[in-house]
């Protein structure tokens, strides 16, 4: 029997080889370096040198916790929670602070190191100076540069005494012998040379400086948000090399895992709190929920592991600072993309799916059930142009964080296995355009992309 020869279909466009794809990027980086060296008004020799921070302590008001009588170790424990160190530095289900969680980045996975005072595999051989160099300069004890997945671009601003308190706390943890896992970064990002270039281009160690015309409370909030709590690590957009875009600080960004959108803190249509009271901001960070919003996904984990442990004074201070962030005007792009009326058929099938699967909890008119299930009518997390978070919630469901003030949160089931891509798109388009809501359609392709992103 004659069979036609087996043919492997070719992709529509031949893919350039890895080297060819990287060449333009390398060329740009080298040219940028040359330009900076010869014409840039940056004195390269001044970079990467330790700068002694001179933050007037009195501008920060009292110490970070209400109590003045904290020992350095207690203070360090508080600060470690404020920085959420344990989250990345603990493998899921592993020994606390012994490292091992993968931080997904577009360049590969970075594994957080062992912070327990174990001599061989941890930081048992480190001094307070070594620790300070890591926090302030992004440089390890052996001189290697650290990957900015460790948020030293934010931590560089912390006060030396806070760094020392953190170190004192870490040094009295139970030592755990657990070797650090090697990062799985792609070349050239895996090289120290790439990191050196990155630091030259995008990082210089700098102390945090207060704004003297603002109140002590505001400055304390600003210090926490900008340095230890490293809110910008998720909420500030990055360029293609992973460096923060300081012009659009806190303006919202896709998380490095590509699944969630960290909403803008500078837009009242996303997560801006300019029109909230500082107390409501504190409430959200303390309990995971507030009258006009709740923490979901990665933010629920931040509340769980970090912000619920802040003192009330610090939470209100952070609220004051976040309230004061200037609102960024919408981009022209967003105006051009003003939503069209959604497809009628999509809306009809969406309404039927809503009635069947959602209305029991979220109400026939999207009014929700106060104290249990959030309203969807007029809810900005539903209306936000970016639909990543909505899709994540629909596909995977989710609970709010169990916090001291809200220990038994309600949850939403995952619909990934119940609804297909078309049904998911229909029901999300429906809730975005029913009961007076107006927001862009969600397409089956959007749903499929999110499913794919989760597999990768």
């Amino acid at each position: 029997m004659n069979r036609p020869p087996l043919r492997v279909p070719e992709p529509p466009f031949p893919r350039p080889s890895a080297t060819r794809r990287l060449l333009p990027m390398l060329a740009v980086m080298i040219m940028a370096l040359l330009w900076l060296t010869f014409y840039g008004d940056i004195d390269l020799s001044s970079l990467n040198k330790p700068v002694t921070p001179e933050v007037p302590v009195e501008r920060l008001g009292r110490p970070l916790d209400d109590s003045d009588s904290l020992t350095p170790v207690e203070r360090g424990a508080y600060l470690a929670r404020a920085g959420n160190c344990a989250y990345c530095h603990t493998a899921p289900g592993g020994a606390p602070y012994a490292g091992g969680r993968a931080v997904a980045t577009p360049f590969g996975d970075v594994y957080a190191g062992n912070l327990t005072p174990e001599r061989k595999t941890g930081i048992g051989g480190w001094s307070a100076d070594d620790f300070w160099h890591a926090m302030h300069e992004g440089r390890s004890r052996d001189g290697r540069l650290l990957y900015p997945a460790f948020p030293y671009p934010a931590f560089t601003g912390i006060r030396r005494e806070d760094s020392d308190a953190l170190f004192a706390y870490l040094m009295q943890l139970r030592p755990v012998e657990q070797a650090n896992r090697a990062h799985t970064l792609r070349w050239p990002y895996s090289t120290q040379a790439a990191l050196r270039v990155w630091q030259w281009l995008y990082f210089s160690p700098a102390p945090w400086s207060p704004e003297p015309q603002r109140s002590a409370e505001w400055n304390r909030g600003a210090y926490l948000v900008q340095t230890l709590a490293h809110c910008g690590s998720c909420h500030t957009p990055r360029n293609r090399f992973g460096a923060a875009n300081d012009d659009r600080r806190f303006a919202g960004a896709l998380m490095p895992d590509g699944l969630w959108h960290a909403p803008s803190l500078r837009s009242i249509d996303e997560a801006g709190v300019q029109q909230w009271s500082a107390e409501d901001v504190a409430r959200l960070l303390r309990s995971g929920r507030a009258p006009r919003g709740s923490a979901q996904g990665p933010m629920a984990e931040v509340v769980l592991h970090s912000t619920q442990h802040f003192s009330d004074v610090d939470l209100v201070a952070m609220g004051q600072y976040l309230k004061s962030l200037s609102v960024l005007p919408a981009t022209d792009e967003a105006v051009a993309l003003a939503p069209r009326a959604p497809d009628t058929r999509l809306m009809q099938s969406g309404a039927a799916i809503y009635e069947r699967h959602c209305a029991d909890c979220h109400g026939k008119q999207g009014e929700g059930l106060p104290g249990a299930f959030p309203a969807l009518a007029g809810q900005r997390s539903v209306l936000m142009e970016n639909s990543h978070n909505l899709l994540q919630s629909l596909l995977y469901g989710g609970y709010g964080p169990s916090t001291r003030t809200a220990p038994l949160p309600h949850g939403m089931p995952p619909f990934m296995l119940t609804l297909n891509d078309i049904e998911s798109a229909a029901v999300l388009t429906y809730i975005r355009n029913a009961w007076g809501n107006v927001a862009p359609e969600v397409t089956p392709l959007d749903v499929q992309r999110q499913r794919d992103a989760a597999i990768r």
Binding site: G397, G398, Y399, P409, G411
Partner: protein, 247 residues
Amino acid sequence: MRSLPETTRRTLPLPGWSLAWFAAAWLAVCLPGTPARADEAMAQRTRACTVCHGEQGRAGPDGYYPRLAGKPAGYLFHQLQHFRDGRRHYGLMNRLLQPLSDDYLMRIAQHFADQQVPYPPPLPLSATERSAAAAGEALALRGDAARGLPACTACHGATLTGVLPATPGLLGLPRDYLSAQLGAWRAGQRRAHAPDCMAEIAQKLTLPDIHALSLWLSAQPAPVPARPAAQLKAEPPLRCGSVLATR
């Protein structure tokens, strides 16, 4: 002495007994401590679970999701912890439980342990399945001393409905779920507290053993009532970390 005018008397406050009634009714409705109310509140909080695991956690043998209702709370609590902390693997469960505390997981476990709902009849076996299941029956009820395999009943209770505080019942579960779990134990993907007795047993099982056990177990009707035993009648054949952890 002047008596009050008629109209004023009519608007006097309600007599004491009606106030008491009102207060009692109000308390009955609002007191969160009332068992029925607390159960209802937990039912609302666990809707995220019951969409897949069935109302009150009663999932039947015709799907994949395991029944939760009436399983020992200690067992359910351990599984919730394992899912949250990445020791048991099922993506949707792993993600759903991430932000929940041990206290809350215990409340959820207790809630489902307290649900007493009847078991639906098992799915019938075909003639070929029945013959394959015979080997499963032998293993489940008598074990295989030559291979060092104890009977399932030696730990999971004479009626296979589990033993308090942390050994699960094996009846009323879907066939695919049973075979997936035994396979996962055998492959080392599912684990429990050390000493991990179930891993020890599963590693001695062959794939035909797992097939036979899943068929037979999934075809057994549950006794009425199907509650976990308070304790085992004889010493268990193995030391199990998950049981020791609850002592």
